[in-house]
């Protein structure tokens, strides 16, 4: 609040409190999710959080749509892996947990080099230049074999670096804590950055770049600094990935990786600090889980993205913050009722969704995997794709299910309306 004194014991607790809680959560997570695959998943989530937040410094904060952010992630990873190998060969006294600094430096350096070109323009021109630079680096990665290691990439052994406090970083749990520590530092740094004079001007550039020029700022300089700093944090994420996989190959700088971070930030919500964090967690989870159960996981991924763009343009975080005014008006009873209607709609939607997925999988099976027989196993069912009955049942479930789902919409709408009216009345009473 602007009219209050800037620093007081209360505001210090308000500022530091959430971070202390988050640190505790990061520390406790491996106790709840102790399996090897869960630890790997958590590590990947930590990396993706840093990467998605760095991307949102451009898209959400400064209004720059980049199609080539993986360049800084990937180059950070490559330089980190080379640095690790140099340290190992030279027996240099550098512990593993400092290697992300190499990624930070590389990301910053290439952010400065490429940013000096691409940030001269905003909007569509910037997006196109970022796409071009992404393709340039991705194709170089297959040509400059000495640095990028060709198809197989560059590998390293994270356990061969100097051991400090008896940590050899062999077990995944140690790597998880290394990633979690860096993730926390990066989150705090990027959060703090938003609340600096520069961070506020980034938002002003996003809103109205022309007006910014008349209050003393060069929008080009603002874009350039934002780009270089976003490169720095992307480089840290890339270095963390290099440590995690002990391998970096050309896919790290590629368009697919650039697309993934865009999806993560957008699905989570770009208008909000927490959005890309949610998106990074969800996208990583989906990527790992879905690719286990279906070959066409990218299709579902794309459908999710389209759904978010169409129905929740502010992302998941946007859906959550939509309820914030109701929460602040203490409309708890109507909120509970609203949540109940959401649950109802969700339950009714599930058969529709299942039928939709079954249809997609059956089409995929018949067109691509027909040689493997006509039956598929899905949702604990064994279905015969050659039987007309199966198809009819799936289509019928889809149609009837959707008709039922459609009827829950007015119920949700009424509950929402009720909550808003309640909150407005509460506001007037106060």
């Amino acid at each position: 609040m602007p009219t209050r004194p800037a620093f007081s014991a209360g505001s210090a607790v308000r500022l530091a409190g959430p971070w202390a809680v988050l640190a505790l959560v990061f520390a406790m997570l491996p106790m709840i999710f102790a399996s090897g695959s869960a630890l790997t998943m958590l590590s990947l989530m930590g990396i993706m959080i840093v990467f998605a937040l760095s991307y949102n410094m451009l898209l959400g904060e400064t209004g720059l749509l980049s199609f080539g952010h993986a360049v800084y992630y990937g180059l950070g990873g490559f330089l980190a892996v080379h640095a690790m190998n140099t340290v190992i060969h030279g027996r240099l006294p550098v512990p593993l947990f400092l290697i992300p600094l190499v990624g930070a430096f590389s990301g910053l350096l290439f952010g400065i080099i490429f940013g000096s070109v691409s940030t001269r323009r905003a909007g569509t021109a910037f997006a196109m230049i970022s796409l071009g630079l992404g393709e340039l680096v991705a194709s170089s990665s297959l040509i400059l074999r000495g640095f990028f290691g060709g198809e197989e990439g560059v590998s390293t052994d994270r356990t061969k670096l100097m051991h400090v406090f008896g940590l050899n970083f062999g077990p995944q749990i140690q790597v998880y804590y290394l990633i979690a520590g860096w993730c926390l530092i990066c989150m705090m740094a990027m959060y703090a950055l938003r609340r600096t004079p520069f961070g506020r001007i980034c938002n002003a550039v996003r809103e109205n770049a022309e007006r910014v020029q008349f209050i003393g700022y060069s929008p080009q300089a603002v874009r350039f600094i934002a780009f270089a700093l976003a490169g720095l944090f992307a480089g840290i994420a890339g270095a963390l990935a290099a440590i995690n996989f002990e391998l970096v190959n050309s896919s790290a700088v590629g368009a697919e990786q650039s697309g993934l971070v865009l999806l993560a930030a957008y699905i989570g919500g770009i208008g909000n600090f927490i959005g890309p964090v949610i998106g990074a967690i969800l996208v990583t989870w989906l990527e790992v889980m879905l690719s286990d159960v279906t070959d066409i996981w990218q299709l579902y991924f794309g459908l999710l993205f389209i759904g978010v763009v169409m129905f929740a343009p502010n992302g998941i975080a946007g859906l959550l913050t939509m309820h914030e005014p109701l929460w602040r008006a203490r409309a708890f009873a109507p909120l509970l009722r609203l949540a109940a209607t959401y649950l109802l709609a969700l339950i009714v939607a599930l058969p529709t969704l299942a039928a939709f997925i079954v249809l997609i999988e059956m089409i995929y099976h018949r067109s691509v995997k027909a040689s493997e027989g006509t039956t598929i196993a899905i949702f604990h069912l064994t279905l015969d794709t050659a039987s007309v009955l199966t198809w009819l049942a799936a289509v019928a479930t889809l149609v009837v299910g959707f008709a039922l789902f459609r009827r829950t919409w007015p119920i949700v709408g009424a509950a929402w309306h009720h909550a808003v009216i309640y909150a407005q009345a509460a506001g007037k009473v106060k």
Binding site: P2, T196, F198, E210, I215, G216, Y217, L229
Partner: protein, 249 residues
């Protein structure tokens, strides 16, 4: 003798084949409140764009306090102490009213691109933002997104952003456009207050506002200044009467 705050020497601006500004020369001394009037399409806003760096002149020289600023970018001119408002409201619609004004005080207070210190802890920024919001009577609307303000409030915010940086020279492009008589009267009072000790140049269609505020008036017709004088003599000038005031009355 001190150099004039704003000085234009033989300035031209062409868009393709069309000449919009055709050899304008004039000077506004430091501390003067100077109004530009003229019919629609005379080039008044273009003239402002040339002075503030939004457009570069096709020919001629623009000087601020004796310094040649011809062809400089708007932010370079802004840093030399010139601030301007816009005819069509030009604010940051999704930022709060508070943020709108605060963004405008940062550079002049010396914080520039600093990304190593928090903005909330800067007492001078907070005090100046609060003072400006108080002055434009929007303090109680601080936390509202600027885009949802009423039209008159947005015009006030536009002036607030313009004066926030404590610029020596202020250019106001139709500050009272679209306002009711009561709102315009409040705008005049505000402009009078904030222009004290500064050089003010304004484009205005409301003749009451012009004759009320201006020390001197220039009349721009088809890209040329046809008269530049004190209000009383502008009123009596025959050429002005035919070109502008006559048709308006």
């Amino acid at each position: 003798m001190t150099a004039p705050a704003i000085e234009l020497v033989d300035v031209y601006k062409n868009f393709g084949q069309t000449s919009i500004i055709r050899g304008v020369s004039f000077a506004v001394p430091v501390g003067e409140r100077h109004a530009i009037i003229g019919p629609n399409g005379a080039g008044k806003s273009t003239l402002f764009n040339l002075i503030s760096g939004r457009l570069a002149p096709s020919a001629g020289t623009v000087r601020l306090c004796g310094e040649n600023v011809t062809g400089l970018a708007p932010y370079q001119i802004s840093r030399r102490g010139l601030s301007r408002s816009f005819q069509v409201t030009n604010i940051f619609p999704r930022l709060s009213v508070w943020e709108n004004v605060r963004c405008a005080v940062l550079w002049p207070l010396g914080y520039r691109y600093s990304f190593w210190r928090g903005v909330e802890g800067l007492a001078d920024v907070r005090e100046r933002t609060e003072a400006i919001l108080d002055e434009i009577e929007l303090l109680d609307r601080s936390h509202v997104p600027a885009g949802v303000l009423t039209y008159a409030e947005q015009r006030a915010l536009e002036i607030g952003i313009t004066i926030a940086g404590d610029a020596r020279i202020i250019l106001l492009d139709e500050p009272s456009a679209g306002m009711s008589a009561a709102e315009a009267a409040r705008a005049v009072a505000l402009i009078r207050k904030v222009s004290r000790g500064r050089t003010l140049m304004m484009i205005e269609h409301d003749m009451d506002v012009v004759f009320d505020l201006a020390d001197r008036i220039s009349v721009l017709v088809y890209g040329e200044i046809i008269a530049s004088d004190v209000p009383a003599r502008i009123k009596a000038n025959d050429a002005v009467q035919t070109a502008y005031l006559g048709t308006a009355a």
